[in-house]
């Protein structure tokens, strides 16, 4: 059960990080470079958290 929870969480986080990268592009188009950089950092951090969740899901599978 925990494995599925971690898998769903990993997919949601990695998929959700795409939203932040899309927002980054929007901010870049509006020439708001500071906001774009910050949102990109959030996106990378969310992907990193998703990666950790995927790793935990793999451990649960073993």
């Amino acid at each position: 059960m925990r494995r599925y929870f971690f898998e769903v969480l990993a997919v949601a986080l990695i998929g959700g990080s795409l939203f932040f990268f899309k927002e980054t592009l929007d901010y870049l188009a509006r020439r708001d470079y500071i906001a774009a950089l910050l949102v990109m950092v959030i996106g990378v951090a969310v992907i990193s958290v998703g990666k950790e969740m995927a790793r935990l899901a793999l451990v649960q599978r073993d």
């Binding site: 500071i34 910050l38 959030i42 990193s48 958290v49 950790e52 935990l56």
Partner: protein
């Protein structure tokens, strides 16, 4: 024994000659000819910058160092171009000339990386046919070889297309002319450097990242993998998980503060 030494020495001399010929070709076609074309060979500093790659090439040959030949020499090529950005503009490089220079650079990189590491094995004392050799390579090895060929082809195509796109797309040229009037050559060179950096990043993470796990018998890799396995068995997130959460929260907080500050 003496014959083996002679063969080894002959191979090294051959590798030196190949590296010198191809490296000099790259230096002349990227630095000297464009510098003459745009009239940039004036003044001590510019001449010294133009000579710098050639000195790096000679240093690499004397030391027989792959790091110098494949790292320092290409980097030194960029120094005179950085000082005189118009040397790399699309007015200097037409599509045909660009293709010739690209072939020269690929030939240099291939020649140096291949011949400097080539070692002819000594002649066998006896030969015995193996039954498994009659069957041919296993499917997994054929698959692996296909992946290697694909990676090698992409290693040539991606940087060439990126650099050609930056230099010869009229839409990019028009946009730069509109945004940076009078500095098109400088910005084109900056974009070209950006394309090279982007390619090096892609190569490091995507291409070498794929190839690295294929190496076998690497003590560092085996150690890192066993450490990762024992680390994963604890079932707890690593410190980078908490670091990422804190980083995301901090970035969000700064974003909200900036919004309030602007309002």
């Amino acid at each position: 024994m003496v014959a083996e030494l002679t063969t080894e020495r002959r191979w090294k001399t051959f590798a030196d000659v190949v590296a010198f010929a191809l490296g000099t070709n790259v230096w002349i076609s990227i630095v000297i000819l464009p510098a003459i074309f745009v009239g940039a060979l004036h003044g001590g500093s510019h001449i010294a910058a133009a000579a710098l790659p050639f000195l790096a090439l000679l240093l690499g040959l004397v030391r027989r160092s792959e790091a110098v030949l494949l790292g320092l020499f290409p980097a030194a090529i960029l120094v005179p171009v950085a000082l005189q950005p118009q040397m790399a503009s699309s007015y200097v490089y037409g599509p045909v000339r660009f293709a010739l220079v690209a072939i020269g650079v690929v030939a240099y990189l291939f020649g140096v990386s291949f011949f400097t590491t080539w070692h002819e094995p000594p002649a066998p004392r006896s030969i015995r046919g193996l039954s498994s050799a009659q069957v041919g390579p296993a499917e997994r090895w054929q698959r692996r070889e296909r992946v290697y060929w694909m990676l090698a082809a992409m290693s040539l195509i991606i940087p060439t297309v990126l650099i050609a796109w930056v230099n010869f797309d009229s839409a990019i040229d028009d946009y730069l002319g509109e945004m940076y009037p009078g500095r098109v050559a400088l910005m084109t060179t900056a974009l070209t450097a950006g394309a090279i950096v982007l390619w090096l990043g892609i190569y490091h993470y995507a291409f070498l990242g794929v190839l690295r796990p294929h190496r076998t018998g690497d003590r560092d890799l085996v150690g890192a993998l066993s450490h990762a396995r024992s680390d994963a068995k604890t079932g707890k997130p690593r410190p980078r998980f908490y670091g990422s959460v804190v980083l995301a929260l901090a970035a969000m907080a700064i974003l909200i503060l900036l919004r309030h500050w602007k309002a």
